[in-house]
Symmetry: C2
Subunit: 152 residues, 2 copies
Amino acid sequence: MSEPRWLDAAQQRDWRAYVDGSVRLTEMMDRDLKTRHGLSVSEYEILVRLSEAPGHRLRMAELAENASQSRSRLSHTCSRLESKGLVKRDNCGTDKRGVYAQLTDDGFATLERAARDHVEVVREYLIDVIEPEDLEAVGRAFSAVLKRLDAT
Amino acid sequence: MSEPRWLDAAQQRDWRAYVDGSVRLTEMMDRDLKTRHGLSVSEYEILVRLSEAPGHRLRMAELAENASQSRSRLSHTCSRLESKGLVKRDNCGTDKRGVYAQLTDDGFATLERAARDHVEVVREYLIDVIEPEDLEAVGRAFSAVLKRLDAT
DNA sequence: TCAAGTTAGTTGATGCTTCAACTATTCCCT
DNA sequence: AGGGAATAGTTGAAGCATCAACTAACTTGA
């Protein structure tokens, strides 16, 4: 058992700021989306990914991948979205195991409304309060984290 | 209803990298802490805050504040930690409504073990993969976010 | 061709989070 | 003093996430 390499004071401070800020930002956005549009962040993410897909539809596995969710979680969330009428599921012709998640018109309209408000919140609480070059650094930083996570 | 001010392509890219990276990083750390030490991230956070407090104890409200958790959530989590023997609760002498959460010896020992592993993961997946000046930028960025969130 | 292994997706149980409602105590103000 | 408001903390219900187990369909290779 080797000695742990602790973080220095500055690293600790930066790491903590990120953890705290991130948790609280997400909570706030969750509450905001929930109260104004009846959507959780993970439901919202799914609608976003679908809206960007050709024909507003994606195979479940691909959607799960895009939205960084487990397939199980997507299944449950998708069922909820389906019962709200925002998404519907179709069988895939070429692969009988396959299922397409398809954004409904109502789903697209709901997303458009939610996205307007959401982007305002993102601006107000993140984009507008940090320096542009710091935002770029955040982007670089988390891209590197993603790359590291993918190198399993 | 005014036009939404959408994010430009670079802002969108940076924002998404953060959201994705952050979600996946947290998930991975949660799983890691869970499998190796039987702790969730929020349990871990509570133990950390307690370990830093004088006498390894804090009033519930203050602990909730430090750990960015609701009081309700802290109550539940604290009950779980108590049943694991890592924390115990004591009444406060000066305020009969008050309750102290106190880290047990076992709790402190568990935290020390968990922290060693945890800091390694933080290094491996974040600190070591991003440029030092980008980490500083992340710290600045989320400090600003926190400040904005506190300006309710 | 057909059996073993892989992939797609779902399901149900369990556990954690959130929310609103609640008790008990303390503070504040007249 | 004492009545109303605020604060500390808990509780139970409902919703959401996670995990392991499962069915069904596709792929591979001998």
